[in-house]
Symmetry: C2
DNA sequence: GTGAAAGCGCTAACAG
DNA sequence: CTGTTAGCGCTTTCAC
């Protein structure tokens, strides 16, 4: 037996409209009838049909969340952040996994649009110009989080300054006496973060006048296995280049790298220091606990969602720019201090 | 500019009905007009409004997924499994996080119902009798995954045999020469899995006639920190009880335990062996790689979703029973072999 | 093979 | 303060 607004209306002896009103603008309804209606709802265990509502109001209280991959540890941080703040706002989220594929991100927008999400938070790879066509006729606001845009369509973006982040990681290592510092970076196609993080590395090398050699950096993916493989490659020439530390473009790959070092008889941090990036939950669980650059996921998510909600209320197609959130180095156990003999 | 079924109809010179037909039952439409309509759709970039459709057909192609906690590593495995098979079926999933709270699981059902999900996959704690009231008038099928029911309402459940799982873990340790084996279990309130896993431990102790002492088992939660704390407690009496191995009710807590051991000067597995439960992705990334009981999440998820879809097509309120999927011990590095002197 | 008309459950003017 | 009347965009009888 379906109980709709109509059923309630009958029971309460009012019109459907009145029922609708106590749902949406109770202050417009007389206190007494309001009570009558509420009682009726209670008794019938009435739940407004979210679909019908959405069809009428043209909004669903749902936002789309586009993520690079749901099996990444990265995903938890993103999702947890979003979920928390959307829940406080009484919104739902529909997740779309792009599985690290450009093809699927184009799909993401139209898919989510079709399912009437009110707005989209996008956390996958760099938004490029070929998205403009889709973005333009999307008709719902999109906010970027942890990534950036090179497209023409104006877009708001909330993230950490990745250049500065890795710069600071290197600076930290320098402050601990390291000079021969390598980097495990992500693909050059990953311009939103990977390239920037690599930029940060180069800037720091320049700034501190550190030794450099093309073999100091190896480029790979950012999963555990990628980090493992990249480290393996680096180790081939380690006897030659003698790195004392390595910065990475992500915690998960850093953990892979640590694992690889361990498997090859290197101790971390005694033989080689490693610093991660992100500060995922896992970073403080592994052995050794990972020293890393912390991204404030919760705060970034909250900012992004709020910005999106604002845009939903008051569309502003011109809104543009990237807002940096402060990152922070968190010192744990994967970096050793080199005492400089004098 | 909104493009609806109407717009398409006009452009193609047919009625909305026909457009609807090519969407749903194309075989009923003349080949030529079908093409005309499809072209029009293409040109206008038409996407059917999922809400309107849902309102009409009374189904949304969405299933609800109730999970215990989205920050758990456990969550990734559940979600990834579900996502994969629902996607193949062209369905969406709406996640509801119960945050390990009973209060929130009751809410979960009504919340998801209200949002017109076509069915629900439930993976949180044991379903008890007080759910019966809600479950009965829910009107949409519910399937259990990785958990069980003690409620009266008939419910299908897909999981691993947790009693046997831990039994096998202990058996494995015995086969490696261990006798003094402890257990880090989850709360006794967690009857769906925690209690059963503990049952498995007790059964094995009995079966192999192993030494036992109440201090051999400590009960806690299943997060990393819980495992850490539980292990810490166990270590207080370790000099007394001299355990050589410990089984756990979950990988995440096992990793916490390993970490605690390490922090207190115990080597794993040289001093104490640890076996996990679940085989989460993280299990093979930590040091030492965790020997554990593998739950086939993907397969279980696929089974559960398919069962749910069947129930959605053909309601069968009497469907009941728990279906066990095979678990498996995966040997890695956290257990050492004890050579028995003879 | 195709169209007209009604309806899914709710909201939103517009009257009164 | 409350009810009447139209829709929201799609599907679905029922005729033609």
């Amino acid at each position: 037996m379906k109980v709709t607004i109509r059923t309630v209306a009958q029971k309460a002896g009012v019109s459907p409209t009145t029922v609708s009103r106590v749902l949406n603008r109770p202050e417009l309804v007389d206190a007494n009838t309001r009570v009558r209606v509420r009682d009726a709802m209670e008794e019938l265990d009435f739940r407004p049909n979210a679909l019908a509502r959405g069809l009428s109001t043209n909004q669903t209280g749902t936002i789309g969340l586009v993520v690079p991959g749901i099996t990444d540890f990265y995903f938890n941080e993103i999702y947890a952040g979003i979920e928390q703040t959307t829940r406080d706002l009484g919104m739902k989220v529909l997740v779309y996994d792009t599985e690290h594929s450009r093809h699927r991100v184009l799909e993401a927008f139209t898919f989510l649009k079709q399912h009437q999400v009110d707005g989209i938070i996008y956390t996958s790879k760099l938004v490029t110009e070929d998205y403009d066509a889709v973005l333009e006729r999307l008709g719902i606001p999109v906010v970027l989080m942890l990534t950036q845009s090179m497209a023409k369509t104006p877009l708001l973006s909330f993230k950490v300054d990745d250049i500065q982040g890795v710069f600071d990681a290197v600076a930290y290592l320098v402050s601990r006496g390291h000079r021969k510092i390598g980097m495990l970076s992500t693909g050059m196609d990953d311009e939103a973060t990977g390239l920037q993080r690599f930029e940060g590395y180069k800037a720091a090398v320049r700034h501190y006048n550190l030794p450099f050699d093309h073999r100091y950096v190896v480029v790979g993916g950012y999963r555990f296995n990628d980090g493992y493989a990249a480290m393996k490659q680096m180790l081939q020439v380690q006897s030659d280049i003698q790195l004392t530390a390595v910065v990475t473009a992500g915690d998960e790959m850093a953990i892979g790298a640590v694992r690889c070092l361990h498997d090859n008889g290197f101790r971390v941090p005694e033989d080689i220091s490693v610093v991660g990036y992100d500060d995922l939950g896992i970073a403080s669980m592994v052995t050794p606990r990972l020293t890393t650059i912390r991204q404030p996921f919760k705060e970034i998510a909250a900012r992004a969602v709020n910005a999106l909600v604002d845009l939903m209320k008051q569309p502003n197609p011109g809104a543009n720019g990237v807002y940096f959130h402060p990152h922070q180095i968190v010192e744990r156990e994967s970096v050793r201090e080199i005492v400089i003999p004098r």
